[in-house]
């Protein structure tokens, strides 16, 4: 299971890359592996105001429908439109293909996220 050291993680198997006030958000290798072949991604709308825990996107595999929850509060600045035509990119390379970029309104919320080591332990418990 690939868990890059320079990212933060949630218990919903999402990864977060912090870049100043912005965070890039995607799904982890664990998530894509357990979902199986991803065939559809419903992206968040630009400029949407989100609160931590809001369902902002949906990832659908052949068998499963899975919500993506915002790990922070803020505004959706960007969505990765490439996933609309090529949802399989989330299987092929989950860490270079983000789903959305959010401009944080409260960076303190990052403290609630998991470190790579914590996430690795969390995944081990799930198995």
């Amino acid at each position: 299971m690939n868990i890059p050291k320079d990212l933060l993680y949630t218990s919903e198997h999402e990864w977060i890359r912090v870049d100043g006030d912005q965070v890039y958000l995607g799904i982890t290798d664990y998530a894509q592996h357990h979902l199986g072949d991803i065939v559809f991604v419903e992206l968040p709308e630009l400029d949407t105001e989100v609160v931590t825990g809001d369902s902002i996107a949906v990832v659908e595999s052949v068998k499963a429908v899975s919500s993506i929850y915002s790990p922070v509060s803020g505004t959706v600045m960007e969505n990765n439109e490439e996933l609309e035509d090529s949802p399989e990119l989330l299987n092929e390379d989950p860490y270079t293909n983000h789903i959305a970029v959010i401009n944080m309104s409260n960076p303190d919320e990052l403290e609630d996220l998991m470190s790579p080591a914590d996430y690795e332990a969390f995944c081990a418990e799930q198995e």
Binding site: G36, D37, V39, F40, E42, V58, E60, V62, K63, V65, E84
Partner: protein
């Protein structure tokens, strides 16, 4: 509750199957990945464990007569070693199960039923059985493997002395040896491709599984339930619990071809005759998504904001590479080309009623 294991459970583990609970059975949902497996069956061949399916025998002088009373199709037209698809109905025309009828002889019939319905089916058949027929649940005596795909016959022929081309579509041979193992082999399946279903003693199942994979080499792979579902869906083959149910009749599901209402009596006939005369109020239609989204089973269907039915099965179809579905809707809205709405996560997403957009079956039915 612990899950039931088929005789091939060790094989699923050996080949990296991802095991799930399928109606109380521990079965693999996928091996290499659902889409990859799906294409493998369409292009070459796949090996399935379908040992969870139920087998029920009906024996006695009136076995054929009783089977005719039990199911919608005219089993009396069958020759020995021929197979027919049929529905078993309740008196109100709703479906108990859909099944295959294998005729060994007038005195010996074999029914192959859905795993999830086996106990219910067996009780139903026993309850209605004529006094002089013997009904037996043989499900534990058979493992069942399916080899499906354009390469199926070539691969199996390598390890069988029986000329498999002599087994025509919807016929079977109860005396075939594959890799030296005695089997019942039928030219049937649930994928829309040519192929065979093989009934074998449980203690020989794993050996046979390995022999078939070895004979096929690169041209065959183990296939899980995920691809079994996408393959059957693309070929528009019905699934009990979705296209068929106790509240859906075969006529509503578009299976009138398998319901023979002339002459003989059978359970549900009266209700079905009435429904046919009046035209069923609901009809199963094909649709394609216009807006973005994947239709899923039980999503509601609307027209101008009013509910007109629901999605029975929907999916991203791997062969056509787009989202399509089947829906049971009110008859008056069945107009190919008409736009309807599929309610996906509380939002109305545009779809269009269509005809002939499903996969053209490659079975040897001609």
């Amino acid at each position: 509750m612990s899950l039931k294991q088929t005789p091939l459970y060790q094989m699923h583990q050996k080949y990296g199957g991802k095991i799930i609970d399928f109606g109380g059975w521990a079965l693999p949902v996928q091996f290499a990945g659902i889409i990859k497996e799906h294409h493998m069956v369409r292009q070459k061949a796949g090996l399935f464990d379908v040992s969870h399916m139920g087998e029920i025998s009906i024996k006695g002088i009136r076995a054929l007569e009783f089977t005719r009373y039990l199911v919608t199709n005219d089993v009396k037209t069958l020759q020995d070693r021929q197979i027919i698809y049929a529905l078993m109905c309740y008196p109100d025309g709703g479906v108990v199960d859909d099944l295959l009828v294998y005729k060994f002889s007038n005195e010996k019939i074999f029914l192959v039923v859905n795993a999830a319905n086996l106990d219910k089916d067996f009780a139903w058949i026993k309850e209605h059985a004529f006094s002089d027929v013997e009904v037996e649940n043989l499900s534990d005596r058979y493992a069942q493997l399916a080899v499906q795909g354009p390469e199926a016959e070539r691969i199996l022929q390598k390890i069988s002395d029986t000329d498999l081309s002599s087994i025509k579509f919807f016929w079977f041979n109860p005396e075939v040896k594959i890799a030296g193992v005695e089997c019942i082999v039928s030219r049937t399946g649930y994928t829309g491709e040519d192929g065979f279903e093989i009934y074998v003693s449980p203690d020989k199942a794993s050996y046979l599984w390995e022999e078939i994979l070895e004979a096929g080499g690169e041209d065959i792979a183990p296939i899980g339930l995920g691809a079994r579902d996408t393959l059957r869906f693309e070929a528009k083959l019905p699934l009990y619990g979705q296209e068929l149910d106790k509240d859906i009749t075969p006529l509503e599901a578009g299976l009138g071809f398998f319901v023979k209402l002339q002459d003989d009596d059978f359970i549900g006939k009266e209700a079905l005759v009435k429904q046919k005369q009046a035209n069923p109020g609901r009809v199963l239609v094909e649709f394609e998504m216009v807006g973005k989204g994947i239709p899923r089973s039980h999503y509601e269907v609307e027209k101008d904001g009013a509910n007109i039915g629901w999605v029975t099965t929907g999916a991203h179809a791997p062969t056509m590479n787009r989202a399509i579905g089947l829906a049971l809707i009110k008859r008056e809205f069945n107009l190919p080309g008409e736009e309807i709405d599929i309610i996906i996560r509380n939002k109305a997403v545009k779809a269009r009623i269509a005809k002939g957009i499903f996969y053209n079956k490659n079975t040897k039915s001609k």
